[in-house]
Symmetry: C2
């Protein structure tokens, strides 16, 4: 799968380089074998490093998984791309759904995505990641960018629709959502996200 | 938990009665211990029947799980209640969300619901159940009742939002969706379901 710098160049990789090699190897292994199936040992082997170095950088498998997701998602860049320089409310829902579906279907295949998500939903560590990387670091900043009321409620509603979309497209595979071209899917879901982000909420929430 | 008729009355329960005792025991055990944790043996013990009778009625654990869900959901009654006698399109989304959240939070507690769903998402049998009992037997008949185009697409979109709602309220527990009173949740989600069921779809689908 991934080639290691050590294999390529024969020299010992530096710390930053080693860290990235481990993250790349971890993402490949988690994608192929799921959270349970990917061992620290197999990831170390793939990255061409000692398992001790993984523990040194990431403490635990949870820590490594978390760092690998963060490295794949780049929440700040995602938010900046969705919000846009002009912070236009128009099209915000569409930009958000397009960015998220693009993320899901960009780097890894749908099968890999399915494997990651399936193993993810059964682990509390993954639930924490979803809350942290998706709701708190992506949906909430996007909701805050609009200046509308109750960004926490809006971010949670956005999460509910996009998590459900991922579930029905990749895990449960509900026909025809599992087969729709991304563009058609975006067109169907975008108005929902637009309303959650910018529409009037039917209730006034406190705090 | 559930008392068995045999324990109550000392007589040997009939076939229909035994079947119901098994289903009640299965739901209690699946709710408490999840799909993996609930054994056929423990369910038989709870119901006061022989394990052979469970195999006779339901063939396998999958079959029992499926029957227990069907027995809890009563899809036809749910659809009739949501669609209503006058088949009014107005309020359809709200009736649907209210019925589903009521089902989730009615008979079993939120903790039990969380346990069932958590174990469910990691099993193909549960994915099949969701497609069959929710999308095909609930969402699709409701979508068909409106006479609008593309009921399959609409039913899948409805499933995506409601599955995501269940995930964020019971499994991942995304704040504040996990704590919102049911009425406020219904008010936020209902317009989405209304649009998926009765609104203009942004794309024209074939087949």
């Amino acid at each position: 799968m991934t080639r290691t710098a050590r294999k390529r160049t024969g020299r010992r990789p530096g710390n930053t380089e080693s860290r990235q090699l481990i993250l790349d190897a971890a993402r490949a292994k988690f994608a192929t074998h799921g959270y349970e199936g990917a061992s620290i040992r197999s990831i170390a082997q793939e990255a061409g490093v000692d398992t001790a170095l993984i523990h040194h950088f990431f403490t635990s498998k949870d820590g490594l998984f978390s760092a690998a997701v963060h490295d794949a998602v780049h929440p700040e860049q995602l938010v900046a791309a969705v919000v846009g320089k002009r912070r236009a409310l128009r099209g915000l829902g569409e930009r958000m759904v397009r960015a998220i579906v693009g993320l899901w279907e960009g780097e890894v295949s749908r099968n890999q995505m399915s494997s990651i998500m399936r193993s993810a939903v059964s682990h509390e560590v993954a639930a924490q990641l979803l809350r942290r990387f998706f709701t708190e670091e992506v949906a909430l900043p996007v909701a805050r960018s609009t200046g509308k009321s109750d960004p926490e409620v809006r971010a949670a509603l956005v999460t509910s629709q996009l998590v459900g979309l991922a579930m029905t497209r990749y895990i449960v595979q509900v026909h025809p959502i599992d087969k729709l071209p991304a563009d058609e899917l975006v067109a169907c879901i975008a108005p929902t996200i637009q309303r959650y982000l910018t529409g009037a909420l039917p209730v006034s929430f406190r705090g």
